[in-house]
Symmetry: C2
Subunit: 215 residues, 2 copies
């Protein structure tokens, strides 16, 4: 899921079309397909890769990883910029989900958290609201074990083994005053699934911009 | 999907538990399970039915429809009140989807529209933005045919057969100044699927309430 966008990544290398497609898909999976501003996207969202072969450098199976890394670096930077540029956004938020039963479970929970208006307004208001994070993960449909779940806001373990650590709340509130926020939710299943998404906070300015817009 | 709620419906009639459960499920499907404020819900959302048999009236298979109608009327009223009472809500919005291939398709599209922040801010701002309605339906994953799709805001057919009727936009904008809004999107497949959901507009006050809240 992208966020109402057209992207284009270019290289001067010589790359056969199937290899170029594969490199682009790998790069896009964890970048453009891992962002959200408000959950909205477009039916014509897409990213293209162009390789003109102008440089005397060929990419083959053996060196494809180099291209993937380069594409990923470029796509990650552009993807984060889309989120930072979201209407009314004041913070870039990295949501990590760990301890999921599967990768799909992790992605579903990460998406639920990243799109939750209650999570996004809490972050905007600087409230270290572990309850909204746990609630979003819990209702996501992914396997979730509250007794072993954990929530980290920045470096601070605000919740673990079914209990909050409220003594850390003031530090977490101070951390949330920054504009580059990291949040991690362990679903507590002990499984290997992990996922990462980027989202932004939800501000009154978001509403103003989108309510005052005229067709 | 409910909206962070516990509900209780009571009757003095004598009703056997299986029949009571069936009547409640039928009543809840199109009412409490057809509302959203911001897409958030709780893992412990639920609605109970209690029948104490205090009245000398028995409900059986033959008369169950009477109980379903009564429960539905009560649940619809309470469900709409939850939406009207949503944080910062100023309008109750009834979203109808027609012309879907299946009932599931209709419900998925209705949910996408009812939860779309862009649709909800447009309604808040009084903008008859058929594009946002069509976009939400188009990205919902339900079968959708833009060439035969239609959008109605109140009584006004703002979009049909792939084309907008912009001459109606001023009347639609006037209609949107009301606080009880009806919106209909025909997905254009010619199928029999229909659905109805209730939602509210998204205001800056929603953000203020949920960002200023402290745990």
């Amino acid at each position: 899921m992208m966020a109402t966008m057209l992207g284009c990544v270019m290289t001067d290398a010589r790359v056969a079309p199937p290899l170029l497609q594969r490199a682009l898909t790998e790069a896009v999976d964890g970048t453009f397909n891992a962002i959200t501003v408000d959950g909205e996207c477009s039916t014509n969202d897409c990213v293209f890769a162009l390789a003109n072969g102008a440089a005397d450098v060929g990419i083959d199976e053996g060196s494809c990883e180099v291209l993937v890394r380069a594409f990923t670096a470029v796509c990650e930077r552009m993807a984060k910029d889309i989120v930072r540029g979201g209407e009314g956004a004041t913070k870039l938020v990295t949501v990590r989900v760990t301890g999921a039963l599967t990768g799909d479970d992790a992605r579903r929970a990460a998406r639920a958290i990243a799109n939750s208006p209650l999570v996004k307004t809490a972050i905007h208001g600087g409230d270290p609201n572990w309850g909204r994070l746990v609630a979003a993960a819990g209702r996501s449909g992914s396997a979730f074990s509250i007794d072993r779940a954990a929530v980290r806001i920045g470096p601070l373990p605000l919740f673990s083994s079914g209990a909050p650590h409220d003594e850390l709340a003031p530090d977490a509130a101070a951390y949330l005053r920054g504009d580059d926020i990291e949040i991690e939710v362990d679903l507590g299943t002990g499984g290997p699934g992990t996922a990462r998404m980027w989202t932004c906070d939800l501000s009154a300015e978001y509403v103003r911009i989108n309510a005052e817009y005229r067709t």
